[in-house]
């Protein structure tokens, strides 16, 4: 029993292994998306409302890539997903409450 305890401790601090994504490919995509953001913001000549939507979507795309592949959320147990998305409805409620101060 005493001999098994250190092994149990050892295993418990070792994250579960999973298929490794191509980190460099994601890095290239993030770099290209950053360039695209700047180009869209200053060179596209889009109407402001459309521009805001496009830029926010590009930012969300980049953020999702970081969360899914660099933070490995894509490979985590479903239960952790519940924890990860838990603040999103709360964040929406917070923003809505703040916005009602103006409108």
């Amino acid at each position: 029993m005493a001999a098994s305890t250190p092994k149990a401790e050892h295993d418990s601090v070792t994250p579960a292994t999973h298929v490794k994504p191509n980190y460099y490919l994601i890095w290239v995509v993030l770099g290209v998306l950053t360039l695209a953001e700047v180009a869209v913001a200053f060179l596209s000549g889009m109407p402001k409302q459309i521009l805001i939507v496009v830029l926010v979507l590009l930012a969300i795309w980049k953020a999702m890539l970081v969360a899914m592949y660099y933070m490995h959320l894509k490979f985590e147990p479903r239960k952790l997903w519940i924890v990860a998305v838990a603040p999103l409805p709360l964040a929406v409620i917070l923003v809505m409450v703040i916005l009602t101060e103006h409108w």
Partner: protein, 215 residues
């Protein structure tokens, strides 16, 4: 209860299918989501409520420099995740190299942000400037009628910079531990937890860059 048993309980798997330290970091990061949501929400409402106090993108702020800084932070995320991947394979040299690179890139990010603050400060764009006139870097011109732009800009980027500084500080300790052989293919949870924090800081900057600098 022996120390080893206590340590196992502390670090062992939680009911969420991940070890407790990792779950703890995720819960902490979720509180950080709410923190930055509050800041961003306040910025949005102030910007819509008092548009005369805000400048168009690129007029006051140096977007190309910050785009470069954004890319540097993205590069630091790659080196961080590579450090994790290397120690997972048991490659100590790779872990140390990539952790060191991450520290350096984090310091470069902070240095560029410091340069940006210094230049803006010399131009008179300080947190509570009542009136501020700028000849835009891209041909525009701005005369701000109040302090909100400076206050919100420095609050959001400053809090993020503080998070990066804390991250670099902790990363230095992680790197020192790595150089002392503190991690192995059987025990690298600390690297993963440090990485989660670092990637979150990168993720927040991706959002801030778009909202503060481009919109």
């Amino acid at each position: 209860m022996s120390y080893a048993a206590a340590a196992t309980m502390e670090r062992g798997p939680s009911s969420f299918g991940v070890y407790n330290l990792k779950l703890g970091m995720w819960v902490f990061l979720l509180s950080e989501v709410m923190f930055f949501t509050g800041l961003i929400g306040a910025y949005i409402i102030l910007r819509f409520a008092r548009p005369e106090q805000f400048a168009e993108p690129g007029v006051v702020l140096n977007v190309p420099l910050t785009a470069l800084n954004t890319f540097i932070l993205i590069c630091s995320s790659v080196t961080m995740v590579k450090a994790y991947a290397e120690i997972e394979r048991g490659n100590q040299k790779g872990l140390r190299t990539y952790l060191l690179a991450t520290v350096v890139l984090g310091l470069v990010f902070l240095s560029i942000q410091g340069i940006e603050y210094t230049v803006l400060g010399h131009e008179g764009f300080v947190p509570m400037a009542d009136r501020y006139a700028a000849h835009g870097r891209q041909g525009g011109e701005a005369v701000l009628g109040g302090p909100l732009y400076g206050a919100t800009f420095y609050t959001m980027t400053g809090f993020h910079g503080t998070h990066v500084s804390i991250g670099v500080f902790c990363m230095i300790f992680t790197t020192i531990k790595a150089f002392r052989g503190g991690y192995s293919a059987a025990n690298y949870g600390g690297v993963e937890i440090m990485g989660l924090y670092w990637h979150f800081v990168d993720l927040v900057w991706i959002i801030l860059f778009t909202i503060v600098y481009l919109i």
